[in-house]
Structures are given as structure tokens and as C-alpha cells.
């Protein structure tokens, strides 16, 4: 730094200074020095130019590396996603395949059973399967529709008022009422209930046998002809009508004709004992129910 130039004072307001004079003050100083001493000549000049050129090479290199790094980072994320999606897809296909295989084997077993056992035994077995939820059943019965009421958002707190949501206990009450009125088979949104089915709440979702079901809930039951009327008039009907009046939930019970209820997707055999009579080799006694019934 030369003496004739005013000494550079760093103002306390560094940012203002930065905005006012963004160029590195070194350039001005170097220019002033040059004005006094003259341009460097000969090898020194060349060395400096070479150094600057090398720095610029490094700069270009740096830019490219940074660019490539940024570009490489992005696909890494999408790649992971795509791989996950692919995995899900392949597993799903595998599940479908296995399900088909299981269905085929199930048919084989049924055919063999029919051949080996007599007609009467098979009929008895079928009745048992239908009653336990292992086989699809067809018949007349009742359809109960229960839907969530309005869930307004509080404008002040932003919280959703979920009082009018259908709870697991509501569905439990409906199914229990149907069972007690003589229903032989029940589904909730197509999920067949068995002796060990569960209807539970997990957060805001209702799980039937660990499968989420959503509003509107359609409980279909096969049973006596006046099942719907009995349900509507019984304690369950009164309960739901009160919910309708109080919370604006929707409720409707009507008779249905000739509906087919699917078999339960999964029935875990927990306890099995050999039947006292040797001719019927299959008898399952389920452990106490966990809910729903």
C-alpha cells in the first residue's frame, strides 16, 4: 500500500460498504501500485499470467465438477424411488401369482375332499365353512349403511372436529346387533367377518382384520328376512338414528336379496383338535373372539 493513498478504513457497517463497493479493493490498490511502479515486465508478468490461467483452468474444472455433482445427485433420488416402485410392483405380481396358486390348490383340495368323503360329510363341511367364513355365501339379508357426518374445521384453531366420524365401536355395535338378530354372515365393505375378526381404530382409520375401511361403511349381513327391520327397530337402529340426529351422520338399513358375501381373506387356525368321530377329520375350534363379535 502506498502512502499517498488514503488508508482504507473498514466501516463498521460492513454490509453497506459491501453494497456500495462490491469489487475487491485489492484491484484498485494493484492499479494504483502499477501506476507508481509501472507494469511488471518479463518473466514476472508471464508467471502471473500463467498463474491466472491455471486458476481459470481450475475454475472451469470446479464448475463442471459441481454441475456434474448436482446432476448426479438428482437421479440418485429418482433412481431409489423407481427401484422401490419396481420392487412393490414385482412383489405385487408375486402375490397375485401365489394367490392364484393358492386358489388352484384350494380347488384341488376341495375336489379331492369331495371324492374321498361322502356327499353328506362334504355338505356338512360346506355348511361349517360357510358359517365360519371360510367359504363365500349367498342369500338374502340386510344392508346397513353408516357414513361419516360433516367434520368442520375450526376456523380459529384449524383443527378438524371429528366427533361425527364413525368409530370402531359404532361398527362393532352394528355387527354385534346383526349377529344377535340371527345374521349368519357379515361383511364390512366387502371384508368378511369371522369369529376372530377385529374391528379397531388406528388413528383416524378403522381397521377390519387389519385392513383399512373407509366411509361410507356398508355392513351387509345374510340372515332372516326381517333382519333389516329388526335392526332398524332394535337398540342399534335407535342408537344410529340418534347419531344421525345429533351429529348429522348418515344411516340407512334396508333388506337385500340374493347377495354374495366373499370368503374371509385369512382365517388363522389357532386351535385344532381331532374330531371325536374319525369320519370327520376337520374340526376347528376357535379361540375366544378378540372383538367384533
Amino acid at each position: 500500500m502506498t502512502d499517498d493513498q488514503p488508508r482504507r478504513v473498514f466501516a463498521p457497517d460492513f454490509l453497506t460498504e459491501l453494497f456500495r463497493n462490491p469489487l475487491d479493493p485489492g484491484y484498485a490498490e494493484a492499479a494504483a501500485r502499477k501506476a507508481v511502479e509501472g507494469d511488471p515486465t518479463g518473466p514476472r508478468k508471464w508467471a502471473r499470467s500463467g498463474l491466472a490461467a491455471i486458476t481459470l483452468v481450475g475454475l472451469g474444472f470446479l464448475f463442471v465438477v459441481a454441475y456434474q455433482q448436482t446432476v448426479a445427485d438428482e437421479p440418485a433420488r429418482t433412481k431409489a424411488r423407481a427401484a422401490l416402485i419396481e420392487q412393490v410392483q414385482s412383489r405385487r405380481d408375486l402375490t397375485d401369482q401365489l394367490q392364484q396358486q393358492a386358489d388352484k390348490l384350494g380347488d384341488d383340495v376341495a375336489g379331492l375332499r369331495e371324492r374321498e368323503l361322502g356327499g353328506a360329510t362334504v355338505a356338512r363341511l360346506r355348511d361349517l365353512e360357510a358359517a365360519t367364513g371360510l367359504a363365500p355365501v349367498k342369500g338374502d339379508g340386510a344392508r346397513v349403511r353408516i357414513g361419516d357426518g360433516p367434520t368442520p374445521i375450526n376456523p380459529v384453531t384449524g383443527e378438524r372436529n371429528t366427533a361425527a366420524r364413525v368409530k370402531d365401536t359404532d361398527l362393532q355395535l352394528a355387527t354385534n346387533a346383526l349377529w344377535s338378530l340371527g345374521a349368519e354372515a357379515i361383511t364390512i365393505n366387502g371384508q368378511r367377518l369371522t369369529a376372530t375378526s377385529t374391528i379397531r381404530q388406528a388413528g383416524e382409520a378403522v381397521l377390519v382384520d387389519f385392513q383399512p375401511v373407509t366411509t361410507p361403511y356398508e355392513v351387509v349381513a345374510i340372515g332372516p328376512d326381517d333382519l333389516a327391520k329388526d335392526f332398524d327397530d332394535g337398540y342399534a337402529g335407535r342408537f344410529f338414528k340418534e347419531l344421525v340426529a345429533k351429529y348429522g351422520m348418515s344411516f340407512d338399513a334396508s333388506g337385500v336379496h340374493d347377495v354374495t358375501l366373499p370368503a374371509a381373506t385369512e382365517l388363522k387356525l389357532r386351535v385344532a383338535e381331532p374330531s371325536p368321530s374319525p369320519s370327520t377329520s376337520l374340526s376347528a375350534s376357535s379361540s375366544p373372539s378378540e372383538g367384533g363379535r
Partner: protein, 110 residues
């Protein structure tokens, strides 16, 4: 002219060699790029002002990059890496902006 050729040569080298950045150095890459951009625009502006100086350019680039990296490193160690990076980016960003504005005035007289 030499500067542009050198810059293009560096880009070509980067494309040819396609280096992978070690994981430990990756947090410093964006800061290094911002410091490099600051040096480049400062140099261009100085050139247009007619006061470009090779030595000043080289030293300011290396020093700024190292200082920025050091600040980020210190911030990481202290647990305020993000905030200090922001500080570095703000300061360098302001300088880049000011210098580009000056370059614009030089080129377009506006």
C-alpha cells in the same frame, strides 16, 4: 482471450476426467462454486474497469475459497454450519450482484 481459453480448457478437463467428489468435500462444493463465481465476476469487472491484476485475481480466488470452506467447516463443527453457509452465500452473493451490475453498466451503458 487467454482467460476464456483457460476456462474452456478447465471445463473440457472436467468433462473428460469426470471426477467424483469425495464425500467429505461435498458440503464445501457449493460454497467453493459461489466463491469462484465471485472471483470470476470480480475479475471480469476489474478487466472492464481496466484495473485487472493477475496476482490479485489468483490470490483473491484462492483466499476466498479457502476462507469460505474454513467458515463452513467451523460452522459444521459448532453445529451452525447451515447458518454460516448462509452468511457466506449472502456476502458473496451481494458481491456477485454488485459486480454483475457494474459489468452490465459497462457493456450496455445502462
Amino acid at each position: 482471450m487467454i482467460a476464456v481459453i483457460a476456462l474452456v480448457a478447465g471445463i473440457a478437463l472436467g468433462i473428460v476426467f469426470h471426477p467424483t467428489v469425495p464425500l467429505a468435500l461435498q458440503p464445501y462444493l457449493p460454497i467453493a462454486v459461489v466463491a469462484a463465481l465471485d472471483a470470476v465476476f470480480g475479475g471480469v469487472r476489474a478487466k472492464l474497469d481496466g484495473i485487472f491484476d493477475d496476482k490479485q485475481f489468483v490470490i483473491s480466488f484462492i483466499a476466498n475459497t479457502l476462507l469460505a470452506a474454513l467458515i463452513v467447516y467451523l460452522g459444521d463443527q459448532l453445529g451452525v454450519g447451515g447458518q454460516l453457509s448462509t452468511g457466506v452465500v449472502v456476502v458473496l452473493g451481494v458481491r456477485i450482484f454488485g459486480n454483475v451490475a457494474a459489468i452490465r453498466r459497462h457493456l450496455f451503458r445502462a
